[in-house]
Subunit: 354 residues, 2 copies
């Protein structure tokens, strides 16, 4: 018995040493699947101290809890929104930005304005589609990214408070985004409009253009989808290579997958209006795509950039050192956050009509 226990211990030891798979299989899987050993990843010293603090944050395992009822979904969205909203007054003040609720084409919006609008931006407007895994960011809580953009870029921003699950799955968000875009075109030339958003909002930026094309609306002057969730299926190399490297999203399994299913509401996840990587981007305007080296969704950005380039679109890519998902809009005192917004502002300034 004692010998058996030692034998078992050695077996277990070997099994864990090999990372839960037979050692031989690690290098010789005929499909090319490889086992990458566990590793220690220090916080890089190649980013600012503020960004180092963002990168140093541990992954929050509670992020991956999946709500089981409509009430639980709503409670979680409320909790996230409350935490965000509490910090907004200070943010608006720091960046000198005002926020006014309004409606446009029956859709709730926020008009987010910098203290002063640069002369060349008088006849320009940015439309903002907030992120939040398709379920977070309702009401004022969705304005955070718009406040950063208005404050850093000097553009006037219309932030769309689009409808979301659990009450309003696909295509409510898309309907609202297109309705607001159509309404903006009543007073502003399409070429003078830029559209931007992060994560789910980046994907919605792209699907809004796809729907606009279908409906015969003109393309905007430029778009800036940040780390867009262009594929709701578990596809893309960094979903595997950056799993748990990303300290914000962790993995696509669990919570994130549940939000995709909730949003899709039974529709095929490869529908181009859910996963625009499977759609048609011919005729898209100049596009700037952003991600980070630790981003779970780096592949989404890289694949969309390549798809746009292959379609002849003037598309550029910026990738930020060490950043996980959407951390280019984290701490407003980090020089990288200012630099990100300067790049986006420069891109819009270069490509929007005046």
């Amino acid at each position: 018995m004692r010998t058996f226990n030692i034998f078992l211990a050695v077996l277990l030891f070997a099994w864990f040493a090999a990372g839960f798979v037979p050692i031989a299989a690690a290098q010789q899987d005929p499909t090319g699947t490889r086992e990458v050993p566990s590793r220690v990843i220090p916080v890089p010293d190649t980013v600012s101290p503020q960004m180092q603090a963002v990168i140093a944050r541990p992954f929050d395992p509670s992020f991956n809890l999946v709500p089981q009822t409509t009430a639980e979904w709503k409670a979680r969205a409320e909790k996230v929104a409350a935490a965000t909203v509490a910090r907004l007054p200070k943010l608006r003040e720091a960046l000198g930005v005002s926020v006014q609720p309004a409606t446009m084409a029956g859709v709730k919006i926020f008009i987010v304005a910098p203290k002063s609008i640069a002369p060349q931006n008088r006849d320009r407007v940015l439309m903002h589609l907030h992120g939040g895994v398709r379920v977070f960011g309702f009401g004022e809580s969705g304005t955070r990214e718009a406040i950063l953009m208005a404050g850093f870029s000097g553009f006037k921003v219309i932030s769309v408070d689009y409808r979301m699950p659990p009450d309003f799955p696909f295509p409510a968000a898309l309907d609202d985004a297109v309705a607001v875009y159509r309404a903006i075109l009543q007073t502003t030339g399409a070429k003078n409009v830029g559209i931007f958003g992060t994560s789910a909002g980046g994907s919605l930026t792209i699907t809004t253009l796809m729907r606009a094309k279908i409906e015969g609306l003109p393309m905007p002057g430029a778009i800036a989808p940040g780390t867009p969730t262009v594929d709701l299926t578990k596809t893309g190399d960094t979903l595997f290579t950056n799993a748990m490297v990303d300290n914000f999203l962790g993995t696509q399994d669990g919570f994130i997958r549940s939000t995709a299913l909730l949003y899709a509401n039974g529709r095929d996840l490869k529908d181009p209006l859910l996963s625009p990587i499977y759609g048609d981007v011919q005729g898209f305007p100049p596009t700037i795509v952003t991600s980070g080296t630790r981003d779970l969704y780096l592949s989404n950005s890289v694949r969309m950039h390549r798809k746009l380039r292959a379609a002849g679109v003037e598309a550029v890519l910026q990738i930020w050192e060490g950043q996980s998902h959407a951390q280019y809009m984290s701490d407003i005192t980090a020089p990288e956050v200012k630099e990100y917004h300067n790049e986006i502002a420069r891109f819009f300034d270069l490509h929007l009509g005046r």
Copy 2:
């Protein structure tokens, strides 16, 4: 004794389960250092079948053996060169490219010419600085990348057979590169010259411009450093996050570090002419930087792109899905390889004088 053994087994079990560090430390290291568990990375289905085959290759552990004597260094370089040279005739034929040895300013070069040079490229030339971890690629073996570029892009290429360690450490390679650039300027306007290279050749592309600036030479029209080794120190986030994810380089420790020390020959690795990320890129011409999501040196590309942008340089970045180091020039039948060269050709065509 039996109880002790079981206790030991459980301890070992827990230790391995936690990935060799105390469980508590994994999430709570005050420096933000995190332990990422081992993971299985399948070959992505988001790339072509040819690129899937490249990505499926196992890492070759013999890559990391460090030569111990000058003779061993030379034997290894000879072996790598012989394997490459054996495949060149077929490659030249497939791409319709001719290669002629010559000398320029006393430096050995190869004139690499496509079957026909497009009319707009008659007065343009690309200078090529091959890669090979600063020790591989002597003689004809260094022309492989130049053959691909000439064949796919329709540009005439001058490939520099620069001197290398162990016989010729820094600054021999740089001296040779700058000497050839200076000689090219005798017959071709600087704006009509593009410079490109991969890995060590990408870094040499950048340091050649730094030295050209110091010597008062004009800048070329554009450059294309591919996954440039801009930092010879162990700095950059993907050196950790992509360690052993990259199936070509593996890690920077061992062999790669030994080539850096051999090349530097006692000089500080942070010398900007060894590690140009620490240098001055003001006044650089339009630059296109390339890397892949699995590239150990993705951070080198990302950091250099940001440094160039911060200096006001017209710099663009392209990142390829699932690719490890330099795999954009792997299998010439892979559509990604053709697409990469089309992008570089388009960039040079856009920015070079005529």
